[in-house]
Symmetry: C2
C-alpha cells in the first residue's frame, strides 16, 4: 500500500515520522477519512472543509497539498498505485503541527506541518447491516471540543474496545445523561416517525454522512429534530442507527443487551440504508463511469 | 542528543516511528518526565509507578525496559553520551500501544509497545522564580481522565499557548468554577497559612513534585487541605504557586493581570521554593557525590 508523506510517495511500511513530531508527542493534529468508491472520493469538498475548520481551530497553516486541486491527484495516485480504483476504499489524511523540540506552546521557529495520507481497501459490513448491530453505552469522557476531528482519540479507542469485548459494534457515549455519539459514528433514533439526534455543537463531530442522511430524510419527507436522546429514552426508541464514513447507515437493534423495538432494523432505518447506498453509488459510480 | 527507541540507541534526529504508530494516529500512549540533576534521576520510583499506573489503565503491557533495573542504565547512557551528567537535565519517556493497521479497538495481532526515551538539558527558571510569574485562567476542556499522564495533550498545548501569548507562564484551568491545575503543573494557593489544592482525583494529574511539596509542608508544620480553589477565590489568595517536575515551586504573583496579594512571592511560597531546592539537591547532589 502506498502512502504520501510530506511531498513524497513511498510504501506505507517505509513511511516514518520523527519522534519529535507533535502528533506523536502531543496528539497535536487533525485527521479525516474519505470514502472512495471506484476511485472517486465521496463528499470530498465537505471533508476538506472540515479539515480546514479543524486546522483553523488549532492554528495550523493549511498545507498546499490539502487544496482540492492538489488533494485529488494525490488521492488518485495513492488509489491507483495501490490497486484500489475499483470498488470500495478509504483515504486517510492526517496533518500535525510538525516536528520540533518538545514544548507545550507552539514552536517559535517556522515548522512545516506533517502531512500523511494513505489508502485502504474497505469492505462495508453489509451482512451485519442486514440483521442490525448491537451497541453498548459508556460514559463520554472526551474533551469539550469533539467538533474538532483531532487525533485525541484515546477515549474513543477505549470506548470502541469496550464495545468489541461485548460483541457490539460501538459504544454510545453518554454525557450528562444524554447520548452524544458513537466512538466514530453519529447516533440517531426514531420516535413516532421522527428522527432525533444530538444537535451540532462542541460535543459531537459534525458527521458528513450525518449531513447526507439529513438531506436524504428531507427528500423523503422524514422530519429530523436535533434534540439529544436521553440514555433512559433508548429503550423507548422505535428505531436506532449509526451514521459514518465507514459505517454508512447501520441499524442498531440492541443496546446493552436489550432489544430496540422488536430487535430488527425498522422501516425508516431500512429505507435510509437503501437510499444512502443509492446516493453513494450515484455519486461515485456515475462519476466513475464518466471520468 | 541521544535517544533510545525500542531497544536501540541512536541520535534523536534519526529516531523515527511508523506512521501507523498508535501514538501518532490515536494519541494512544502515556509519557513521563523525570528531573535529572548531576546524572541522578529525582523521585525515580514514583515516576515509574505513575507510568505503570497509566499503562495499566490503558491496558498496555509494561515493557521490560521500564523496570527500574533496566530504566536506570538506559537513562545513565542517554545522559552520559549526551553530556548531561553534570547539572540540570530531564529524561522523557513515552510508551504507545505500538504500530498496527488503523482500527480504534486494540490490535488483535500481538503488537509490541513503542518505547521512546530521550534527554534534554534544562535550565530552571530561577530569575522568574525570584520575582514570581503571571498566569491566566482558561476553561478546562480536557477529558475526564486527567489522572492518566497520556499524550492526549492538545488542550494543554492550546492552554499553554494562550498563556504564552499573554506573557504568562501558564494557564490555570477552570472546571465547574474550580481551578484544577495548570497545563503541565499543579496549582496551590495559601489562605491564612493553609495550603489549598485540588484533591487527587480524575480531574488532575497526581503530581510528584506536588507530593514532595506535601511532605515538605508536613515537615514544616504547614497544613495542606485538598479542597479545590474556586476561580472567584483567586483574588483573595494570600499566595499562589505552581508545582511540577520542570516548574519546581514557582510563585504565581499575578492572575489575569490582577496581583495576588502585593504581587510578590509570599513567605510560605518562598520557604517552599528554598526547601524544595534543598530537597532536590540533597537527593541528587549527595547521591552523585557517592556514585
Amino acid at each position: 500500500v502506498l502512502a504520501y508523506l510530506n511531498g513524497s510517495f513511498l510504501p506505507r511500511s517505509s513511511a516514518t515520522v520523527s519522534v519529535e513530531d507533535r502528533g506523536f508527542i502531543f496528539g497535536d493534529g487533525v485527521y479525516e477519512v474519505w470514502r472512495a468508491v471506484n476511485g472517486r472520493l465521496f463528499q470530498s469538498d465537505r471533508h476538506i472543509a472540515r479539515l480546514v475548520h479543524g486546522l483553523g481551530e488549532l492554528r495550523i497553516a493549511l498545507p498546499d497539498s490539502l487544496h482540492s486541486s492538489r488533494l485529488g491527484p494525490i488521492a488518485d495516485r495513492l488509489l491507483g498505485e495501490s490497486g484500489l480504483t475499483d470498488g470500495e476504499a478509504t483515504l486517510y489524511v492526517e496533518v500535525t503541527r510538525g516536528a520540533a523540540p518538545r514544548t507545550h506552546q507552539f514552536p517559535t521557529n517556522p515548522t512545516a506541518p506533517t502531512v500523511y495520507m494513505t489508502v485502504n481497501s474497505f469492505k462495508p459490513a453489509d451482512e451485519l447491516r442486514a440483521r442490525g448491530a448491537a451497541a453498548i453505552t459508556t460514559p463520554d469522557i472526551r474533551w469539550m471540543r469533539c467538533d474538532i476531528k483531532s487525533i485525541q482519540l484515546l477515549p474513543n479507542v477505549l470506548a470502541k474496545q469496550a464495545a468489541v469485548e461485548k460483541g457490539a459494534i460501538d459504544a454510545l457515549m453518554i454525557r450528562n445523561g444524554m447520548v452524544t455519539e458513537g466512538s466514530h459514528a453519529n447516533f440517531m433514533g426514531v420516535i413516532d416517525g421522527v428522527i432525533r439526534t444530538h444537535p451540532t455543537n462542541h460535543l459531537i463531530l459534525p458527521g458528513i454522512t450525518r449531513t447526507v442522511v439529513f438531506e436524504i430524510a428531507a427528500g423523503l419527507g422524514i422530519p429530523v429534530v436535533d434534540e439529544a436522546i436521553a440514555e433512559d429514552e433508548i429503550e423507548d426508541l422505535d428505531e436506532a442507527f449509526l451514521t459514518g464514513t465507514t459505517t454508512d447507515v447501520m441499524p442498531i437493534v440492541r443496546v446493552n443487551d436489550r432489544p430496540i423495538s422488536n430487535g430488527t432494523p425498522g422501516p425508516i432505518t431500512t429505507r435510509l440504508v437503501t437510499e444512502f447506498r443509492a446516493y453513494l453509488d450515484a455519486a461515485c459510480g456515475a462519476a466513475h463511469a464518466t471520468s
